[in-house]
């Protein structure tokens, strides 16, 4: 991804600090559009660009393609770690969305966040780990996803296949209620 980036974005990692302020004069969506175009060129119908804002791109994909797309993003687009994994429950559409916020420590795109979202089936009576609410784990591609996915599993009941360690992380050991971040879990007095 070298040709399309404006020259102002310098790729120095240990270099002089005087040039750093100039990096941010890049015009708005050039870089973002470039990244989104690369994704749509490669995967065209498998991927849907939700929005392109300053420094933020969100793409939506099917859960069958997510491994392939994540691998491409990691290897060709230089996104190397996961900032956050947020699960969102949509009871109206009967789906649970999982949004991976991918970031990069590569100096050329370190201000970018690529939100990669995917959806899975939501069960009305969940049985975490044993029902159809499943997604493939991205741990082999982004190692940093490990604890985030464990958290997502206990909070929303999304089971990540091939995750080596799907144990409980934050909730008490005797938690037997619904996963708390589902919308049908009501808190006291509300």
């Amino acid at each position: 991804m070298n040709a399309n980036i404006p020259n102002k974005v310098k790729t120095d990692i240990d270099g002089d600090k005087d040039n750093e302020i100039e990096k941010h004069d890049v015009d708005l969506p050039e870089l973002e559009k470039d990244i989104a175009n690369k994704l749509t060129d490669k995967f065209d119908t498998k991927i849907k660009v939700i929005f392109i804002k300053k420094n933020r791109i969100k793409v939506d994909t099917n859960k069958n393609n997510i491994l392939e797309i994540a691998k491409f993003i990691n290897q060709n687009l230089k996104f190397d770690h996961v900032e956050s994994v947020s699960g969102v429950d949509y009871p109206d559409q009967n789906e649970i969305e999982v949004v991976y916020h991918l970031g990069s420590y590569d100096p050329s795109i370190s201000n970018q966040i690529l939100a990669l979202s995917t959806r899975t089936i939501r069960e009305t009576t969940p049985h975490p780990g044993f029902d159809r609410t499943r997604l493939p784990s991205l741990r082999d591609i982004f190692y940093s996803v490990e604890f985030h996915e464990r958290e997502c599993f206990e909070m929303l009941g999304v089971y990540f296949e091939n995750h080596p360690d799907n144990r409980r992380l934050l909730l008490p050991e005797d938690w037997a209620d619904l996963p708390p971040l589902r919308k049908d879990f009501k808190i006291k007095g509300r």
Binding site: P172, D177, P180, K188, G189
Partner: protein
Amino acid sequence: MLKDLLIPQNANAFVSKLGDILVKAVDQPLGYAINWGRIWSLWPVHIETACCSVEFGAASGPRYDVERFGIIEAFGSLRQCDLVVVQGTITRKMAPRLRLVYDQMPDPKYVIAMGACAITGGLYFDSYNVLPGIDGVLPVDVYVPGCPPRPETLIQGCMLLQEKIKRMNIR
């Protein structure tokens, strides 16, 4: 009166009565001495439960310095401690551990509930993982309100506890 009791059938009652008299004679001065010792050696156990531990740390710092009042900063081994300062929210995961810590401490032991969360649940009154106060877990001696309490408030709470210990019956 005592003479009436002085028959073999009433030996038990006599001994216990004698004991009462002895205790009454010694209780006041001895109890004062023991309580005096307890007041100036309150050692809090090192268990932080939530964010009030920041202000607890500040209270042990140089500006507030609870050590002036005979309460040293949090100590490692719970076998040598006699004070639990519950520093904030008790979650459902922490509650059994807190009780375990309390049970392992030697008598006498005192509890200060620090912060709104430890008293009633505070800001987290409707959270799914927070106990509404620690009254169901530990017997509390002094409540220190605030979210978080200022170190001065904590020091005042400790002094109230000392006042309470001074008036306690040692039996």
